[in-house]
């Protein structure tokens, strides 16, 4: 514990008031699109090897392998109960694996309690201390480290500036809006300069407009600070728009792991195709006619073009107006599929037969996995 404090305070830029804690925009390293194009250091921030967490007969996390690079924005995506939050709590130290090993920056953390891990969490319900004002909330971690009052308040104020809440120090958590509390929770975690920041559905309680704004800000902040972010969400749009890499969870297992483009355009299983943006899944028999391979295949709704001179005959079975686009339900043989067409395009009547087609490379075989 002593050593941990020494190390953190030594690296703690708040100690030297001359240098700013957080690099300003000009220092931000250029963003690289994904792991494949490099841009991340080769250091592994968090790694799971064959990690399981079972609660009785419930396999919350089941044999998960995973490696998160330093500086990466990593999203864990999945429906509720899929094991993504348990994975986050395993990293934070609130849960212990029933099997397997977790390493944080190369150190096995099985017996390291949460308060000795250089990892901080932004909780889903923010978990701000109701009996403290905002400045003491943010400075809590520094107070525990034994930093003096003036110093830690200066550091907390700087962190509040970073999340665009300067001058809010004297208020109580109850006096702030949901979005503001979310920012305070973020400041309270970041002020400790964690090596990994864990975010547990941090935007879930915000309204749509605020959520989109915060997505943008979080992404900017992450690039600016270069801290590894591990972000848990059930919102596929959020995961795709923010993360460098996404792990899709279901039933305690990782279904697919890859860049947002990978996950969205080349889902490897029916679950991923379904969960990440409602891809159409085509039956093996139909796919065999087209490609000669008997396999399930995924087809994005927006790749389907309606009203073509040649193609497949499909019957229109419904349509719904979505604003920028219209979703058209089609019966293609025995299959029910959806197409997304631009809102300015004429919507065919229900019951009419239309010709549909798509570019051959839009069809992605999913191998043996149904």
């Amino acid at each position: 514990m002593k050593q941990a404090i020494l190390i953190t305070s030594h690296h703690h830029p708040f100690k030297t008031s001359a240098t700013r804690h957080f690099p300003c925009i000009s220092e931000v390293r250029p963003y690289a699109g994904g792991l494949q194009t490099t841009g991340f250091s080769m250091t592994t921030a968090v790694s799971f090897s064959k990690v399981s967490r079972h609660f009785g007969t419930v396999r919350a996390v089941d044999d998960v392998d995973l490696s998160i690079a330093e500086g990466e924005f990593f999203a864990m995506l999945g429906p509720s109960g899929s094991g993504k939050t348990t994975c986050l709590r395993l990293i934070a130290g609130f849960e212990q694996p029933t099997a397997g090993h977790i390493e944080i920056f190369g150190t096995k953390v099985e017996n390291v309690p949460p308060y000795r891990r250089n990892v901080n969490t932004v909780f889903q319900d923010y978990a701000l201390f109701p009996h403290m004002n905002i400045i003491d909330n943010v400075a809590y971690g520094l107070m525990i480290q034994g930093m003096g009052k003036t110093e830690r308040h200066a550091a907390a104020n700087e962190a509040l500036e970073l999340v665009a809440l300067p001058g809010y120090g004297d208020r109580r958590p109850g006096q702030l809006s949901g979005g503001q509390r979310q920012r305070v929770a973020l400041a309270r975690a970041l002020v400790n300069k964690p090596k990994v920041l864990l975010l547990d559905e941090p935007l879930g309680a915000l309204d749509l407009k605020l959520r989109e704004q915060m997505q943008e800000e979080l992404k900017t902040l992450q690039r600016k600070l270069g801290i590894t972010f591990v972000f848990v969400t059930h919102d596929q749009g959020e995961a795709l728009s923010m993360a460098d890499r996404v792990a899709v969870f279901n039933d305690g297992k990782i279904q697919q792991i890859g860049s947002p483009q990978d996950i969205y355009q080349r889902p490897q299983s029916r679950f991923v195709a379904d969960f990440v943006g409602s891809s159409n899944v085509l039956e093996p028999a139909f796919v065999k006619q087209l490609t000669g391979t008997e396999s399930y295949a995924s087809l994005r709704p927006e790749a389907i073009r309606i009203g073509q001179p040649d193609g497949h005959s499909a019957t229109v079975i419904g349509s719904s107006y979505l604003g920028g686009t219209t979703r058209v339900g089609l019966a293609l043989g025995d299959m029910r599929i959806n197409a997304l067409i631009p809102a300015d395009q004429a919507v065919p009547e229900n019951g009419t037969t239309v010709q549909i087609n798509w570019q051959a490379d839009e069809l992605h075989l999913m191998g043996g996995k149904p």
Partner: protein
């Protein structure tokens, strides 16, 4: 509470309410009056005269002081025991899930639901089977059984209203269990504990039934008063003591009432 008078109660209802309150509280006022009467053999109304001499007489009676001391000791120690055990139990029941949790929750509350006489008889026979001699400690044990309930009830309600992730957040920010207790848990449940503790103290201070069964030769203040009532000599001394008991018990109860009322605002902003 309302003073805008939009829903004005009829006079008869007001009178009935006033009479009811008077019926409850006038007898207590009578006790106060008799503490100053000049007549000491029977309770004669109206008192033939008023005097302060019973205050002095009471002050000089060593048996009063012994009883008061025993009562204060008993109430203080059983309240402290109750605060530690009640808080621990409340934390376990509200924070974790384990086999038999509901049963434990019920068993802890049971002593206050049981008639005191049953608790008393049960404890008395248990003490004699175990060959434990009656002393102040047997009284304290008896009192602690129902004091724990009061503290537990207050603490468990507060624990349920405070978000469980606060403890995790504190740990996450580097605080160990002790620091988390000091900086996060205690400030959040503090007023509930104080209120529970004061109620427990008041309960213990005027308890008669359980004490009768668990005390040996000692008399707590309420027991002493009961004994004193059968003696026709220096009756106003009992009234002076009664007055003191009312004052000693009413203050913590009032304080507990105000503290828990404010506590709603303290703990309500958990999220």
């Amino acid at each position: 509470m309302r003073s805008d008078g939009k829903t004005r109660a009829p006079f008869t209802l007001k009178a009935a309410a006033g009479l009811g309150l008077a019926f409850m509280h006038l007898p207590i006022a009578l006790i106060f009056v008799y503490a100053f009467t000049t007549e000491d053999k029977s309770y004669q109304w109206p008192p033939p005269g008023f005097t302060l001499k019973w205050l002095e007489v009471t002050w000089n009676r060593p048996d009063v002081w012994d009883a008061l001391k025993l009562s204060l000791q008993t109430a203080t120690i059983s309240t402290l025991i109750a605060m530690v055990l009640g808080t621990l139990c409340a934390a376990a029941v509200s924070r974790t899930k384990f086999f038999g949790r509901e049963t434990i929750s019920l068993l802890v509350i049971l002593p206050i639901a049981l008639p005191g006489i049953i608790t008393g008889i049960a404890l008395r026979s248990a003490f004699s089977i175990a060959d434990i001699p009656f002393s102040i400690w047997t009284i304290i044990l008896g009192h602690a059984t129902f004091c724990v309930v009061v503290v537990y009830n207050n603490a468990v309600a507060r624990f349920r209203r405070t978000s469980g992730s606060l403890v995790e957040a504190s740990m996450d920010l580097g605080a160990n269990s002790f620091q988390t207790f000091r900086h996060v848990i205690l400030p959040n449940i503090g007023t509930a504990l104080l209120a529970g503790g004061m109620l427990a103290f008041a309960l213990s201070f005027d308890e008669v039934i359980v004490t009768t069964f668990t005390a040996g030769q000692q008399s707590t203040l309420p027991i002493w008063m009961l004994e004193e009532l059968v003696r026709p000599r220096q009756r106003p001394v009992t009234n002076v003591v009664a007055m003191v008991v009312v004052l000693v018990t009413i203050l913590p109860i009032l304080a507990a009432y105000y503290l828990t009322r404010d506590g709603d605002q303290v703990a309500g902003s958990g999220k």
